[in-house]
Amino acid sequence: MSKKWSRRDFLKTSALFSTGALLAACAPAAQPTAQQPAGAATEAPKAAVPSAGVKKIVFSTYVWSNFEAAMTDILNGWKAKTPNVDYEAQFVPQTIDYWAKIQTQVASGTPPDCGMSDYGHLVSYAKNGTLMDITNYIASSKFPIDKSFPGASAQYRWAKGDFDSGAAGGNYYGIPSDAQAQIFAYNKKMFDAAGVAYPTDDWTWDDMLAAAQKITKADQNIWGMEAIPDYILFKGNWVWAAGGAIHSPDFTKSMLADPKTIEAYKWNWDLIYTHKVAPPSGSAGQQNPFMSGQVAMYIEGVWWLTDFANGIKDFDWDVAMLPKHPTTGKRTTTMESDGWWIYQGAKDPDTSWNLLSYMGSPDGQKLFITANDCIPSTYQDVATSWYATKPPDNKSKVLQNINTDSAKVDFTYFEFGTITNAVWPVIDKAFSDGTDITKAMQDADKVMNDELTKAWALLKS
């Protein structure tokens, strides 16, 4: 007679099985086999990989809008064109903290081979040995880095010991994948309703304010413009146009208390509290006020253009060159670039470079346009064809602005994240509560000086 399985036996077996499963789940992942010298027999990796001899790399990037679809097309195109290569894509939604994920992967010794770069992390990553110096790859493969916008490629160049990227003699730790500038968008319907002429290339800050005053009907939630967000002000463009600066050129001293810097910030503060043509800063997650038809003029990043083109159906809109400062005549736009880089722990840097040079070349950049990517190329000629597409009708004005007056974004220096974390709240309080912006900038100046001192000490440690 067979023994009936009791409840206790079932529970005991379940406990044993659960323990085994738990221990198996905690076992370290199988590591890929190390690179063998050419000609040596290669042990086939245990993971499911195509045939032996195929070089598989791990490529990582954050994704948004249709960028994942564009990237997938590009990667498949590379795979089709290049013999014996394969990839594993790690696409991370932009809503998730991508850089926390990357840092965790680096800490655990399992970084991807290559992936999306970030100009803001370049100096700290390069200093800490997280990134591979790819200067030799660029030189030996004659990669046309000198043909990209200077402000774009500068962000991926760093000389050891420098506080900021961009030094002429620095080595390359990445290549730019695009060139992002600021745009000045306007709502034609709101301009027409107020009887105001559309912006021209000769517009100054005063013209913009005058137009905003005519358009604004605050009681109806109709606003002339959105005040420029603080993170864009800190990137530098508006401040530089006024003749100011965020810090001294050698990064030893804050210039937030400089009168011209304060002028640029106050001009924005006045939009909300003096002239009342911009809505007060509200909840963080509300819909883009330009897309919802609340504000007539909007200064933000070029990455919004595709969202505007796809999302705005209720009114006609266009872009113009950034208005000039009434005294200096400058209309500086910042140049910032995402890009690609290779991690120091890459198992196959050669194949990784093969992919980067494919994507980063002018021909590769053209593929992004075909794939309807939303960020324009880092090469003048390729960017020209992107900027020639519509909508909006005058998209090329953004490129014209870049070629007229642009500079590397001021978000690239060492510990800028820590510094801005300390400085922004001091300035934000004035924008949120309407308190004295001049005093806020002076207080922020002291904070920034303290933080720069700490950052220099950390850089030298």
């Binding site: 323990t19 939630n221 963080a284």
Partner: protein, 300 residues
């Protein structure tokens, strides 16, 4: 034939082994996913670590920095303490009032109870986003209602004075259903004989509430107080979604500060130090609560 004593010892051993087998998965889980990370985090709190290079031992420097030169630590602890005080006290008071009302024999009481519990089961992020829209200074419902009576509503989430109040108000609303549920269970555990006896002695409704309901409900109140304090010091999702800690760090809570230090500016050591300071604060408050409970918590 084995002796009875040997048989009992063998049986006891088998029982013990079986017990260990049953609890091994959870014990392993606790050891691997809680105990070890806690120990490692404690070690990290004495180091300078940016995840990109190996941790560097710096002793108590992180703790010293937090209490001396850190610009934000005391502000975040103050925000968190304010949040904790208001959400716990208001949550308990309102929860008790509503539970007492919902404990009455009224028509549709089960429908009302379900309605009050809906915010508890709704996803926190969705609720926080919804309240962002309600709070919008231009087209939000609250300011629209205030405009109807001629009042210009504040910039609820964009003003440093109002932002924390707005987050607290939402948190009280979101957590009320849970407090009501627990209080209801407590109220229904009070025997009606006490109330009948009190009525015979001439007690009115207020006296019954103060001298019967409150004391007999004290264990429930104590449970909600302790768990409420612990939970409020660990709040992250509501302020993170509603305001991101702004404006100007007016709603930055200590857990968000920990997260920013760890994952935004890569100061894992400082973040770990924050974690242990908060742990110590919560332990101290819990011990205080337990000590004081001897004076006002009555177990039958």
């Amino acid at each position: 034939m084995p002796s009875k004593k040997a048989s009992l010892t063998g049986m006891r051993r088998r029982e013990e082994l079986t017990a260990w087998l049953f609890i091994t998965p959870i014990v392993l889980g606790i050891l691997i996913f809680q105990f070890y990370p806690t120990l490692f985090s404690f070690y990290i709190s004495f180091t300078q670590w940016n995840l990109l290079t190996p941790p560097k031992w710096i002793g108590f420097s992180n703790f010293v920095e937090l209490f001396t030169t850190d610009r934000f630590f005391f502000n975040t602890m103050s925000n968190t303490a304010t949040y904790a005080v208001w959400t716990v006290i208001a949550g308990l008071a309102l929860g008790l009032i509503f539970a007492a009302l919902l404990n009455q024999e009224i028509r549709g009481k089960y429908v009302y109870r379900a309605i009050y519990f809906v915010p508890v089961v709704a996803p926190t992020v969705a609720v926080a986003l919804l309240w962002q829209i309600l709070y919008d200074p231009n087209f939000g419902v609250f300011n629209a209602l205030l405009r109807m009576v001629g009042i210009k509503g504040p910039n609820w989430l964009g003003n440093t004075t109002w932002a924390l109040r707005s987050v607290i108000f939402e948190a009280i609303w979101a957590g009320l259903g849970f407090t009501i549920l627990i209080f209801l269970a407590g109220l229904q555990g009070i025997s009606s004989e006490y109330y009948e006896a009190a009525e015979i002695d001439g007690a009115n409704a207020v006296q019954k509430f103060l001298y019967i309901t409150m004391p007999l409900l004290s264990p429930t109140t104590f449970f909600l107080l302790v768990t409420g304090v612990i939970g409020s010091f660990q709040v992250f999702d509501i302020p993170y979604v509603m305001t991101g800690g702004g404006p100007a760090n007016a709603t930055q809570m200590v857990m968000m500060y920990l997260y920013n230090n760890a994952f935004t500016i890569q100061k894992m050591g400082l973040a770990a130090a924050v974690a242990f300071i908060v742990f110590a604060v919560i332990i101290i408050l819990t011990v205080i609560n337990f000590r004081l409970s001897k004076r006002w918590v009555f177990y039958e």
